[in-house]
């Protein structure tokens, strides 16, 4: 298991180095846009770090000093499909953000939506050595979790301990120092396609940047779009992106499930393009200006000029009513939401005490979506916008930037992952000093 996390540990070290230098870039590689934010950290505060299990990776206050977005190219379904194009798009965004920040960034934390994330719940238990839980016991219980076969060519993206239990007391966030006999832990593990990460790593490398962390887009948009009580009591964040729709379920301030539906706003655009026989750009414009999912009588009379440049007057002067447009968009949006419903049901979302659903992402700006979503997903649906963070330009405060903002929060205050905890002594290399110390302590 150790080898598996070496790259993650390396990224953590890179992130620490970046925090010491004080600047880090945030890169949201989406299907429709690539957003780059440059963060400046105000300083690491070590006090909080020492107090709990949390924030083993360090945390900090930050300020956004540069922001840029560019049209994404070469990304489909949230995965990089054309490396060169994507590299150029990343370069564009990073250059503009650097220019705005007037500072050079070398470290980047990236997130992406696709690559078929799969969630696993892991459980482990261990007998405590000397009745008091030490950090070594925490490390041992984490490594005792039985890891399922998640298949060849997949990589662990997140592995977060969600819950600790000591004997019959559950819901402990920090079991260190407590007295008991058996320590149990629950862990949430998210695996993604290794190829997608490799591609992203390669693109970032080609831009002379260092990858200091990778996160799932569904997870980070949940961080920014859900408010505290939703994260605590249980809620699902639906990130309606361009090429894929991310689902993340939060409970007790931990992500317990994440998934994606490989459909998004681009498919709606594609439907419009096909249905109205217009180019994709025109379809996109029509969707953003006139789109909707709830038709009213008024919409029959609102005519939209589709335009065209074929030279055929009849073809170029076509008009379409808004009701027709809604008629094209609604089935696709319904399909996406139905799919989301199915994923949520499969995850057992209806067993949660609170079933709040928050819609965010660029696709959530379709007028009337909340009404449609409440019919499909349940009554507790709201539209979510990302949290306010310092220095974020007004243009980047829309729901489309939920994952970028969430990634800022993630960069400044990451949750503990498996690789942030100590490595258990048994797993150290055979000649390690720590191992010698343990042998000495056990035998004398």
């Amino acid at each position: 298991m150790i080898e598996l996390y070496e790259s993650q540990r390396a990224m953590r070290n890179m992130r620490k180095a970046a925090m010491q230098r004080g600047v880090i870039a945030i890169l949201d590689v989406g299907t429709s846009k690539i957003a780059c934010l440059v963060l400046r950290f105000d300083g690491v505060n070590g006090d909080i770090e020492a107090e709990s299990v949390g924030s083993l990776a360090g945390q900090s206050g930050f300020r956004v000093i540069g922001a840029a977005t560019t049209r994404s190219r070469g990304v489909r379904f949230g995965e990089i499909s054309t490396m060169g194009e994507t590299e150029r798009a990343i370069r564009t965004a990073v250059q503009a953000a650097q220019k705005m920040a007037n500072i050079r960034v070398d470290h980047v934390i990236a997130c992406f939506a696709g690559a078929e994330p799969r969630s696993y719940g892991l459980a482990g238990s261990v007998e405590i050595a000397n009745s008091t839980v030490t950090e070594q016991d925490v490390a041992r219980v984490l490594s005792s979790c039985d890891v399922p076969e998640y298949g060849e060519g997949r990589e662990v993206l997140h592995a977060q301990p969600v819950n600790f239990a000591l004997d019959h007391r559950s819901g402990l966030s920090d079991p260190r120092g407590q007295i008991g006999q058996t320590l149990y832990s629950d862990m949430h593990m998210l695996t993604v396609d290794a190829g997608a990460i490799q591609n992203l790593l390669h693109c970032v490398k080609r831009c002379d940047l260092e990858l200091a962390g990778v996160a799932s887009s569904a997870y980070v948009s949940g961080i920014s779009a859900l408010v505290e009580d939703e994260q605590e009591l249980g809620a699902a964040c639906i990130d309606l992106g361009g090429g894929s729709t991310g689902i993340s379920i939060f409970m007790k301030k931990h992500m317990i499930y994440a998934d994606t539906v490989r459909m998004g706003g681009d498919h709606v655009t594609g439907d419009i393009s096909m249905g109205l026989q217009v180019p994709t750009q025109v379809a996109e414009r029509i969707k953003t200006f006139y789109g909707g999912v709830m038709a009213t009588g008024m919409d029959d009379r609102e005519m939209i000029e589709t335009g065209g440049e074929t030279g055929d007057w009849e073809h170029d002067r076509r008009t379409v009513s808004r009701a027709e447009l809604i008629g094209i968009m609604r089935p696709r949006v319904e399909e996406i939401l139905e799919d989301v419903r199915a994923r949520l049901d499969a995850a057992g979302f209806d067993h949660l005490p609170s079933q709040q659903i928050v819609l965010t992402g660029g696709g959530s700006q379709i007028p009337g979506l909340d009404g449609l979503a409440s019919k499909i997903l349940g009554h507790q649906v709201r539209l979510g916008r990302p949290l306010r963070v310092h220095g974020l330009p007004q243009a980047a405060t829309g729901p489309g930037f939920a994952s970028a903002v969430g990634l800022c929060l993630f960069a400044a205050h990451p949750q503990d992952e498996w690789w942030d905890f100590e490595i258990p002594v048994e797993r150290y290399p055979a000649r390690s000093l720590r191992r010698a110390v343990k042998w000495f302590r056990d035998n004398w």
Partner: protein
């Protein structure tokens, strides 16, 4: 793989452009570019320009000319010297040893050095120098005031209150008001001598001078070849005692026929009489003893 229609204009910067911008955003590089490069260019240019001998000489000449031009401005010229507080002979001496050719630039005058030179004159105790407005070199001199004449092997010298030589004197009559000291090493003890002169009081009219004996004690020399031999320490007290003894009506020792009053042992003043008076004394004593026997 390329689509039939031309793709939309790609706003992406070229790789070179991107790298260049990142380089320009690097703090150290910017510092070097903003400070280092201009400095190097300026330094290199100057070095190149000065590498030619002719230009270097021309530059030095220019600097020297400029300097001279500023120094020779009338505002900086010193035209006359004014000496205050010195007698005519001393001020002539000062003019002679400074030997300045007026007008001269004030930049050429080293006042500290000149002051040292002036103070080295025997007759000058302290001197202050400054260049006054209007091109005047002002020298304020405090002369040494002679308080005593010292008769030594070299002749008559004037000494001030601390025993420092002021100048030689031809005749004693030139300074009738000054007392005289004599003897080797007398100049080392002038303060004590002055106290002794002050202590003579009513005897002052009879005092011829003081003589230093063996560089350790004083003799007061009176007229009629009388001497008062004073001890090394407590000389002033001893002299006062002698004066007091002289003042007592019945004693008036100095009015008698004594050669010297010896107070070298302060507890035991000793009188030395002249031979004649000693003979007289003995004669009287003999008469007294004969009368007693009778």
């Amino acid at each position: 793989m390329q689509p039939v229609t031309e793709p939309r204009v790609d706003p992406a910067p070229s790789r070179l452009n991107y790298r260049m911008q990142r380089l320009l955003l690097t703090p150290l590089f910017r510092l070097v570019l903003r400070v280092g490069v201009p400095f190097m260019v300026g330094f290199g240019g100057l070095t190149l320009w000065f590498s030619d001998e002719e230009r270097r000489d021309a530059f030095n000449l220019f600097v020297a000319d400029l300097r001279a031009e500023i120094e020779q401005r009338p505002e900086f010229m010193v035209k006359i010297m004014a000496i205050d507080g010195a007698s005519v002979s001393v001020s002539e001496d000062i003019r002679e040893i400074l030997h300045l050719d007026f007008p001269t630039s004030s930049f050429d005058l080293n006042l500290d050095e000149m002051r040292e030179t002036v103070v080295e004159l025997d007759a000058v105790e302290t001197a202050r120098m400054r260049i006054r407005q209007g091109g005047v070199l002002q020298i304020d001199v405090v002369e040494r005031t002679p308080v005593v004449l010292w008769r030594s092997i070299q002749g008559l010298e004037l000494l001030d209150a601390t025993g420092v030589h002021v100048r030689m004197v031809e005749q004693r009559g030139a300074f009738p008001e000054l007392p005289i000291v004599a003897g080797e090493g007398a100049d080392q003890a002038i303060p004590e001598a002055m106290k002794l002169f002050a202590a003579t009081g009513p005897l002052i009219g009879r005092v011829r001078g003081l003589e230093r004996i063996g560089e350790r004690r004083w003799d007061v020399v009176l007229d009629r070849d009388q001497r008062i031999l004073l001890p090394e320490t407590g000389a002033v007290q001893a002299l006062r005692r002698v004066v007091a003894m002289d003042q007592v009506i019945d004693m008036q020792i100095l009015a008698r026929d004594v050669v010297s009053v010896d107070l070298r042992l302060p507890d035991r003043p000793t009188l030395r009489m002249t031979d004649h008076s000693l003979g007289e004394y003995r004669r009287i004593k003999t008469i007294e003893s004969q009368e007693g026997r009778l």
